[in-house]
């Protein structure tokens, strides 16, 4: 949990025919085993960043190194083996006709022998609790289930990093919870590094570290506690404040003695209880 797994140095990127750059001189590191949330309003450059990390786009300036390998046309296949990506639309990344075929797709691409494939398809589906859906077709699955299959497809390749590119934004609350819980479990058990690109602040609050993007620039970086102290500033950036933080603030205004803003409802309730029940 200390050495940088990904380092991004002075990266700038513009899409063809667009005047304002999508990313302006971005630099930061991603540490091994951490959960990093990259937040920002739509169009802040956060998804472009994800595409750069996987070599789906190349920066015009600056450099990116993943697992010690500098990203270039020649190294992308090497890097893609280490960086798995789950995209926003559950339908548009489901390649196979059934769950098992879809998970196998990445393995087939990397020329994994069949007997290894069979085993990895099963174990990675078990990890996302979809092990009993082997022969289901995609249109019989819910959005959350499809996204979990996508995660299994990524896991099967045993990557060092998973990037969730707004992977929960098209899901209903149940699907969102399913995906987030799955990712959290994986991170704990498999020591996988997670980069989640999101505008869901509840999701970001669970990360180890948050990067706030605004108009292509790295606006702020810090722990969830630090970031959510920004308060009104976040709303100005088109984001929101997580409910427990908002609630702590309102309670303080109404005269409830709280020493700080809390990131989870549990912390808030515990603080209320311990500081007041003794009176």
């Amino acid at each position: 949990m200390s050495k940088p797994l990904v380092s991004i140095e002075n990266v700038s990127f513009s899409y063809d025919g667009q005047q304002t750059p999508a990313l302006k001189n971005i630099s930061f590191d991603i540490l091994e085993g951490e959960w990093l949330a990259i937040v920002g309003h739509n169009g802040s450059g956060k998804s472009t960043l994800a595409k750069l990390l996987n070599g789906l786009q190349f920066p015009q300036e600056g450099s990116i190194a993943v697992c010690g390998i500098t990203l270039s046309e020649d190294t992308i296949w090497e890097i893609r083996k280490n960086v798995g990506m789950v995209f926003q639309n559950p339908d548009n990344q489901f390649v196979g006709t059934t769950v098992r075929d879809d998970v196998a797709f990445g393995l087939e691409n990397h020329g994994v022998p069949r007997d290894v494939m069979v085993e990895r398809v099963q174990t990675s589906l078990d990890k996302v609790k979809m092990g009993t859906f082997l022969n289901q077709e995609s249109h019989h699955l819910s959005g959350g289930q499809k996204q979990r299959v996508a995660i299994a497809g990524v896991l099967a390749l045993q990557p060092a990093i998973i990037i969730l590119d707004e992977a929960t934004s098209m899901l209903d609350p149940r699907g969102r919870a399913e995906v987030i819980n799955t990712v959290r479990e994986l991170k704990e058990r498999e020591n996988i590094t997670v980069i989640s690109i999101t505008h869901d602040l509840e999701e970001a609050a669970k990360a180890d570290r948050i990067i706030v993007m605004n108009r292509g620039e790295l606006y702020r970086e810090g722990s969830p506690e630090e970031i959510f102290q920004m308060d009104e500033e976040l709303i100005k950036l088109g984001l929101d404040i997580p409910f427990p933080v908002k609630m702590s603030k309102i309670m303080r205004q109404k005269g409830v003695g709280l020493s700080k803003s809390y990131l989870t409802e549990e912390e808030l309730v515990t603080e209320l209880w311990t500081s007041h029940s003794k009176m």
Binding site: H41, N42, G43, S142, G143, S169, M170, D172, P173, R174, G175, H199, L201, I235, G238, L239, D240, F243, P244, K246, M247, I250, M251, Q253, K254, G255, V256, E265, E266, L268, V269, T270, L272, W273, H276, S277, M279
Partner: protein, 289 residues
């Protein structure tokens, strides 16, 4: 305009091996001017109910009354345009329905289908675009050159330009960032008040249901599980939690506080300020009843 569903049942692909019962014995009244929220899981029958509100689906049993028109099961229904003009639906991801060369033409499409003159439709497009908070210059652009958020607004403008009396919203803010979400929801609420519309909101967001609706219907497994005012629905949060549904965050927090202190507040509060005040007063009183 009043809408009411009477004992409606709907089966998809009736009389085939793929038949599927979607809703059964659903009765709902939506008097003119109501803001109704329909909540429930994906697959609970919410969207099926929604499509009955302007006769996109016809009940396989029971009947639907929309204004003065009755749509009954087992009867051929012709000329439903009159109904559809009065009930506008904003589908989930409505930007997928855009198709014209310019934003203006796309917004004019709906009104002109219902026989509004070109000149009038153009005026309506102008009014609708400013209503959704976009600059007039955008009217000349191709809808496909816009950002996702702008496309969403254009699609909404296309429904508003029909000047419906009832607006049906199916997860209108899905996929938007927090600011976009709030702006769109506020827009519909303002319209609801200003034009005295009926609004039906199908949503997963308990916060939105609590904040905007006068009445909430909870759908579960194709049936109406319960209905009532937000205060009523959320005063029994356990029932919702048992269905696996969320409760508004404020309500959830109140439950946690009540549990921690082993107490019960007089009422369920639906706003953050109210809960904070209740907690403040409770703690001033020494943290006991």
């Amino acid at each position: 305009m009043d809408i009411s569903l009477k004992n409606v049942e709907y089966r998809y692909q009736a009389d085939s091996p793929f038949e599927r019962l979607a809703i059964t014995d659903v009765s709902i009244d939506i008097p003119s001017g109501t803001y109704l929220a329909v909540i429930g899981h994906t697959g609970s029958g919410k969207s099926t109910v929604l499509q009955h509100l302007n006769a996109l689906l016809k009940p396989t049993k029971g009947s639907v009354v929309i204004g003065s028109r009755e749509i009954k099961a087992g009867r051929k229904e012709k000329n439903l345009k009159g109904v559809r003009e009065k009930v506008g639906i904003v589908f989930q991801f409505p930007e997928h329905q855009l198709f014209e060369e310019t934003v203006e033409k796309d917004i004019m499409f709906g009104p002109m289908n219902f026989g509004v003159s070109e000149r009038q439709a153009r005026e309506r497009a102008r009014a609708a675009i400013s209503l959704v908070g976009l600059p007039e210059e955008i009217l000349e652009k191709s809808p496909f050159d816009l950002s996702g958020g702008q496309m969403r607004r254009v699609a909404i403008a296309g429904v508003l330009a029909m000047e419906p009396e009832v607006i049906v919203l199916d997860e209108p803010t899905a996929g938007l960032d927090p600011r976009g979400r709030k702006e769109i929801m506020d827009l519909f609420y303002t319209l609801h008040k200003k034009r005295n519309l009926s609004t039906v909101l199908v949503t997963h967001s308990m916060e939105d249901a609590a904040r905007y609706a006068d009445e909430i219907i909870v759908m579960h497994q194709g049936k109406v599980f319960t209905k009532g005012s937000p205060e009523h629905i959320f005063s029994n949060p356990k029932a919702l939690i048992e269905l696996g549904l969320d409760v508004p965050e404020v309500v959830g927090l109140q439950l946690k506080i009540e549990e921690a202190f082993g107490t019960k507040f007089k009422k369920i509060s639906l706003s953050e300020e109210e809960l904070a005040e209740m907690v403040a007063r409770f703690l001033e009183g020494g943290g006991t009843k």
